[in-house]
């Protein structure tokens, strides 16, 4: 039997970003014992990177807002393949979750009458994003962290999870190792919640950190859970492009919310050229009206820069491809121009967008109050993930829950900015609540010791090989392949090539050898992460091949139009009995008439 430390918790949460922390808090409040596993240190998870705000129909700034409008906006943004029940729950519960953060110490920016201030964002009809300058994610993770540390939750930091453990179909724990010393640890739990975030590191240009290697997606898949909507990857329209070392770092949509505009090298504001039909009613058709919208004029419609992210990213790609890009292969995002409209614009910009100001000044020598930024699309978020029940967040495996980016459904084909921070607190809470309930009713499972031994052996194999492949190089090769072949614009031919590449890389991965020992060894971590990235990349590619249409974040050059047939289904990937990946279409359940009506009313 392999030597490992053993822990027992009622509920075990993997991932300590917003969703994981919120789940842990809820479970602890329900009176069960809770373990929380972080891949990094506590409070460093990717949530800190979220900038613009958290979407909730508080109606503090525009009293016409309500859950209904938020619901309709979310469904429209997701091109109607969302899980409508999740979208409904999300829109209804987000305001309470945001207010609760204030009770736990969050300090949001204020309206004149002292309430939580809300700002405009792409695809949201009314100013809806509660925010703190452009560091809302930091505020939320710190608030949750500082609330959670007093609840008796056992926190395990810098831990790599390598496998789920099962008893029959039921999930009863995880196995992995602490990175500091490389010691194996086994966590047994009555219910397990995954809140493991995204997959950005499958691509070369990404706003995501090294942690976003799709661990949750891949481990869930390996354990037999279903993944859904994996073809829907969000490429955020505005990432930094220059200098090369900062390529991909996020530039918040808040820049456009505050009046920033997009121009090509000819100085033309190109977003007016192509406004999709479903947004024509809601979009300004002249610059004047767009400006008034950003300044809070309730009768104005939003400027086309604030169309959904999938669309804006494609327009930018078009400009670049047709030779109208900026010198370093992006386009210009200009907030400095507002000096024509308001006095003291430099001060205003620094106050509204402090970290953007800081980021460009320090990393690119650009003063955004004076000059335009160069930006281009960056891999930002995956709408797809573990298939869950809308109300309980339980996956297709008993005792196994998922919340946040690694779960799927709420966002459909495209996520609206601001809906991620609300997603994590709404569904993080639900996952914690129902996991605790499950744990209270369930007995302890039995660990299969033989399985544990096998996993441990597999994990240590790369140490036994003396010379071989470098894991960092393989990761790089995968990122290049996915960027070039399964990126913003996709074709069947290229994606088939990608599948071949992925197979090749899987073979090379088996030859990786690791230098050094088990203590804090990044080449070991990268090797294990790589297995996850390969599974996720395959799921993205196979699902994207299956969806022979263009919708939201998924655009096919060979099928550039939306197709009625695909508007009624989701694509599910799972591990077949033969160990190969299976792809099936499943019909989307019929929306109840009252929700249909809400959508009609908000057309």
């Amino acid at each position: 039997m392999v030597e490992c430390q053993r822990y027992k918790h009622d509920v075990l949460v993997i991932g300590a970003g917003g969703a994981g922390l919120r789940a842990a808090i809820e479970a602890a409040n329900a009176g069960v014992s809770v373990g929380l596993i972080c891949k990094s240190l506590l409070g460093k998870a990717h949530t800190v990177m979220a900038e613009g705000g958290v979407a909730a129909a508080l109606a503090n700034v525009d009293d016409r807002d309500s859950w209904k409008v938020h619901f309709a906006d979310t469904m429209r943004g997701g091109q109607y393949v969302n899980n409508w029940r999740m979208a409904e729950i999300h829109a209804k519960e987000a305001p309470d979750r945001v207010r609760e953060l204030e009770a736990w110490g969050a300090v949001f920016d204020r309206t004149k009458d002292g309430k939580i201030l809300q700002r405009n964002f792409g695809g949201h009809k009314y100013p809806r994003l509660a925010h703190v300058g452009d560091r809302t994610g930091l505020e939320i993770i710190r608030t949750l962290q500082d609330h959670a540390i007093y609840l008796g939750i056992d926190v395990h930091m810098e831990f790599t999870t390598v496998s789920l453990l099962k008893d029959g179909q039921r999930v009863i724990g995880v196995f992995g190792y602490d990175r500091e010393r490389g010691r194996f640890k086994l966590f047994q739990a009555k219910a397990v919640v995954f809140a493991t975030g995204g997959i950005g590191k499958a691509y070369r240009i990404t706003s995501n950190s090294w942690e976003s290697t799709g661990d949750g997606h891949a481990l869930a898949y390996q354990a037999g859970a279903e993944l859904i909507d994996m073809e829907f990857v969000q490429f955020h329209p505005t990432g930094m492009v220059w200098p090369p070392s900062v390529q991909g770092i996020l530039v918040t949509e808040g820049v456009r919310g505050e009046g920033g505009i997009l121009r090509n090298r000819e100085g033309k504001r190109f977003m007016f050229d192509d406004i999709p039909d479903i947004y024509k009613n809601q979009t300004a058709d002249n610059e004047e009206e767009g400006w008034r919208y950003t300044q809070g004029d309730k009768n104005a419609r939003r400027p086309p820069e604030l169309l959904t992210r999938d669309h804006v990213a494609r327009c930018i790609v078009r400009e670049i491809k047709e030779g109208r890009g900026s010198p370093h292969g992006g386009v210009f995002l200009d907030i400095a121009w507002i000096k024509e409209r308001i006095p003291n614009s430099a001060e205003h910009i620094k106050r509204k967008l402090p970290s953007m100001y800081h980021q460009f000044k320090q990393l690119a020598d650009i003063d955004i109050t004076k000059e335009a930024m160069e930006i281009g699309p960056t891999t930002h978020y995956i709408m797809g993930g573990i298939r869950v029940n809308a109300d309980t967040q339980m996956s297709t495996l008993p005792g196994f829950f998922a919340a946040g980016e690694c779960a799927a459904g709420i966002n459909g084909a495209n996520r609206l900015g601001g809906n991620s921070l609300s997603d994590i607190i709404v569904f993080g809470k639900r996952a914690g609540e129902y996991a605790a309930k499950f744990a209270k009713e369930a007995g302890e499972g039995t660990i299969d010791e033989k399985e544990v031994d096998d996993i441990a052996k597999r994990v240590l194999e790369p140490f036994d090989r003396s010379s071989g492949e470098n894991p960092f190089q393989i990761q790089r090769d995968l990122q290049v392949a996915m960027q070039d072949l399964v990126g913003i614009v996709r074709t069947q031919k290229e994606m088939l090539t990608a599948l071949e590449k992925i197979e090749e890389l899987k073979e090379r991965t088996k030859k990786i050898s690791i230098t050094g020992n088990r203590e804090y060894n990044p080449s070991w971590h990268t090797t294990l992460d790589l297995n996850n990235l390969l599974i996720v990349s395959e799921a993205i590619t196979r699902s994207a091949l299956e969806r022979k249409e263009s919708r939201g974040g998924h655009f096919r050059d060979d099928y550039p139009k939306k197709d009625e047939v695909f508007s009624k289904c989701n694509i599910v990937s799972s591990k077949g009995f033969d160990g190969k990946m299976q792809i099936v279409n499943v019909p989307i359940p019929e929306m109840p008439p009252e929700l249909k009506q809400v959508i009609e009313e908000n057309k």
């Binding site: 800190v48 204030e102 300090v107 309430k115 950190s209 990393l363």
Partner: protein, 248 residues
């Protein structure tokens, strides 16, 4: 392509030594880029902590040519590349491996500070009213990314190792954020004075100088807290009142 040499500390708590690595450098690169390139190409097992690469998570703290900084926000163009760039882990925390240190003490300290306790909600929907002006100062403290660079430079911890009696500038900022939150009802002054060692701070301002978030740690957080402590405990009138209160 241009190259530069980086002298990186390799080792663990048993000891270690500096090792030189020469690698390609290009426009716009930051120190973390160079370290990661060395890791990918020359030293696969080089341990370094980082996440966001944008100065937002506070993971990549280190000492670069002796100055405590975030590696992801230090551009090579700020440094002289004629000599090797010296990169070492933070010196006030125990080594784990290479550039990674054990900062767990900080997480333990935070738990001992009394948590946020808001007054009753102002409105029936459970919300409060606060003016932007009244929260500006607290928002400054809440920018903290917990990089612990301030903890690393403070002489009370670095030279005098008073970790058991002194919580350090990061947690004075944290306490100030709670004490000055208009909604909070808790009193943390006695703790600050007795067990958290605010008296040890002699306002050298080294912490403020290294803060990557430009939080005015000393002037805005520590000095006002010191004044509140002095007011509460050393004002003769209040002393008397407290004496009576205790007797009752």
């Amino acid at each position: 392509m241009a190259t530069a040499t980086f002298r990186i500390w390799r080792g663990n708590k048993e000891g270690g030594k500096f090792q030189d690595y020469t690698t390609e450098v290009s426009e716009g690169m930051v120190v973390l880029d160079a370290v990661l390139r060395i890791q990918a190409e020359k030293a696969n097992d080089l341990a370094v902590r980082w996440n966001c690469k944008a100065g937002k998570c506070g993971s990549c703290s280190a000492e670069i040519n002796g100055i405590p900084k975030l590696m992801c926000m230090t551009r090579l163009s700020e440094l002289s590349l004629d000599l090797p760039v010296i990169i070492e882990p933070m010196q006030s925390f125990p080594s784990i491996k290479d550039l990674v240190t054990d900062v767990s003490w900080n997480f333990e300290v935070k738990k001992k500070i009394k948590k946020f306790s808001p007054r009753k909600a102002d409105a029936s929907d459970g919300t409060w009213r606060m003016a932007q002006n009244d929260v500006n100062r607290v928002q400054e403290f809440r920018k903290c990314i917990e990089c612990f660079l301030c903890q690393n430079v403070c002489h009370v911890l670095r030279d005098h190792h008073l970790h058991n009696e002194f919580i350090g500038p990061r947690f004075f900022v944290y306490s100030a954020n709670l004490e000055m939150n208009p909604l909070d009802t808790q009193d943390r002054l006695e703790q600050l004075k007795d067990t958290q060692g605010i008296g040890y701070c002699n306002i050298t301002k080294c912490c403020t100088k290294v803060c990557p978030e430009s939080i005015t740690i000393t002037d805005n957080a520590i000095i006002p807290l010191k004044e509140r402590v002095a007011d509460e405990f050393y004002d003769p009138l209040k002393k008397l009142i407290r004496l009576f209160r205790k007797k009752k």
